[in-house]
């Protein structure tokens, strides 16, 4: 019998060189500038938290795939590393190791593997882990070490300070030096402080086409517009747009977490809807909610709506829209 030379496959037939591995390691590279800044400000603690988080995430994924699913393990495709890094970036730098491990178990075990692993999880694993920890360990998760340059030996681990958003939530308007906030010299989670480092990573991701501009622009634009309206109404009570964008996890969330391919809408239009929703909910929680920061909650809420958004924003199939035929010119 002749060899069957005709290979039949589903479209698309054009293959690019992309793979899960390449995308995930691009994200890891994009996160490195922010990681370096956090090492500069938090020293060995930043390395400790990040390493524990990555190792725990990979270990949980390996254990589940090896012993529960009894299938092949995919821990080196990079997705567990990205989840681990993002989880570490979302917690204070002085967190106890066992809390980080619990966060990793929740992120990988509950939010990712329960739904069937990479590609099937409706919620961003790292954010589920972070929110779980935030609700479970409120005091440990909101004790922020004050950033100290690494050579500042006399500064001890015990020095903790408030975050800009925490102060805002208590009703204090603070005059923050925007340059400090831009570089990252403010209290906050491990990797969320430095706007410049996060932006460099974001530009890298845009160039590598790992993310598109839609979600970050929609999230940050909506946050700026909404907070500008509030600020315009009463500048003494509400913070200005630049503050909202630089403070807290706005940039980290908008560039790295909301853009997660698995949990964000598929079309550009859908991404804009999704981003606008995240922006509005974030400012709502920051302004009127009991938590100082609402980025992670906003992303989770919009993650839940992604199937609906995908349904609304279906692209028109080729040939579906028929142009009305031109009226024949009467002679």
């Amino acid at each position: 019998m002749a060899e069957n030379r005709l290979a039949i496959a589903m479209s698309p037939h054009v293959h690019s060189n992309e793979s899960v591995k390449k995308i995930m390691y691009s994200v890891v590279i994009a996160l490195l500038p922010a990681f370096c800044v956090s090492v500069y400000f938090f020293g060995l603690n930043a390395i400790r938290v990040t390493l524990i988080s990555i190792v725990a995430c990979m270990a949980v994924e390996w254990l589940i795939q090896k012993f529960l699913l009894k299938g092949k393990t995919t821990i080196f495709d990079g997705s567990a590393i990205v989840t681990g890094m993002l989880l570490a970036f979302n917690v204070p730098a002085n967190l106890d190791w066992w809390i980080i491990v619990i966060g990793a178990i929740v992120a990988i075990g509950i939010a990712k593997m329960t739904f069937g692993g990479l590609g099937n999880n409706p919620f961003n694993p790292a954010i589920v882990g972070r929110v779980f920890l935030l609700i479970s360990f409120p005091s440990q998760m909101t004790t922020w070490p004050t950033p100290q340059p690494i050579w500042d030996i006399k500064a001890l681990d015990a020095v903790t300070g408030p975050t800009p958003l925490g102060l805002l939530n208590e009703g204090q308007m603070v005059d923050y030096n925007y340059m400090d906030m831009f570089i990252g010299n403010m209290g906050g989670s491990l990797g969320e402080m430095s706007a410049i480092a996060l932006l460099i990573g974001g530009i890298f991701l845009l160039i590598r086409k790992v993310i598109t501009w839609h979600i970050p622009v929609a999230v940050l634009g909506t946050m700026a517009a909404f907070s500008a309206i509030l600020w315009g109404v009463d500048p003494t009570k509400y913070a200005d747009p630049l503050f909202h964008i630089l403070a807290g996890g706005a940039l980290l969330g908008a560039i790295y977490m909301a853009t997660d391919m698995v949990t964000s809408p598929m079309t550009g239009k859908g991404m804009l809807v999704y981003g606008v929703g995240i922006g509005i909910i974030t400012i709502l929680i920051r302004t009127w909610g009991s938590y100082p920061e609402g980025m992670s909650f906003a992303i989770l809420i919009m993650n839940a709506l992604v199937p609906l958004i995908n349904n609304w924003c279906k692209p028109k199939r080729f040939g579906e829209v028929v142009k009305p035929p031109k009226e024949e010119v009467k002679k």
């Binding site: 619990i102 779980f132 609700i135 479970s136 360990f137 005091s139």
Partner: protein, 192 residues
């Protein structure tokens, strides 16, 4: 013996909350600790046994068209009995369970057993069925409550074994959903 089967099926094979997914609202709402889960389960058992007996006794008197309202009247009377009894003799637990005791009236398990079993079977069989189902429900609630209590407040039946804060989320509503989901998953895994 058929009665033995009627009794034991409520524990694993037809467990109301783990297999049939009935009565999830009180399951999620009251299992913040093992004691709360157990007392809720036992209160439901009482109502279940009594209403099953009465409904199987009067099943031939009830016109078919109004059977659901009639069942509800019977169930509601027993719920009122247990409500007042708990208020008088167990004020502490009554206080914690609060609204969930009156809500036993609309618990799907009680109405479901009345409709599916008591209205078709004899008194003794209905009584045994109600007892088995109720105790199976109480067992599931107690285990879920114990797991949530151990993880959430590091204690069991009120006895604190480590003086520290637990994983707070397990005492709150999300923890109930996580706990119930994984409990059901584990039971299904071993019940194949």
């Amino acid at each position: 013996m058929n009665n033995w089967k009627n009794f034991t099926k409520g524990f694993i094979k037809e467990n109301p909350v783990l297999i049939m997914l009935l009565g999830c609202c009180p399951t999620l709402g009251t299992t913040t600790s093992a004691i709360n889960g157990l007392s809720m389960g036992l209160a439901t058992t009482f109502v279940l046994v009594c209403s099953n007996i009465v409904i199987s006794l009067i099943k031939n008197l009830i016109p078919d068209k109004v059977r659901i309202p009639s069942y509800i009247v019977v169930i509601a009377s027993f719920v009122t009995v247990i409500d007042l009894l708990m208020q008088a003799y167990l004020p502490g637990i009554y206080e914690t369970l609060g609204l969930f005791i009156p809500l036993i009236v609309v618990n799907c398990i009680v109405l479901g057993r009345a409709e599916a079993f008591a209205s078709k079977n004899g008194v003794w069989a209905s009584c045994v069925d109600g007892l088995g189902m109720g105790l199976g429900y109480a067992l599931a609630l107690m285990i879920l409550g114990a797991v949530r209590e151990i993880l959430g407040s590091l204690s069991i039946f009120g006895w604190q074994f480590i003086q520290a804060d637990g994983i707070l989320v397990f005492v709150l509503a999300p923890g109930a959903f996580f706990g119930l989901a994984y409990f059901i998953a584990v039971v299904r895994r071993f019940n194949k």
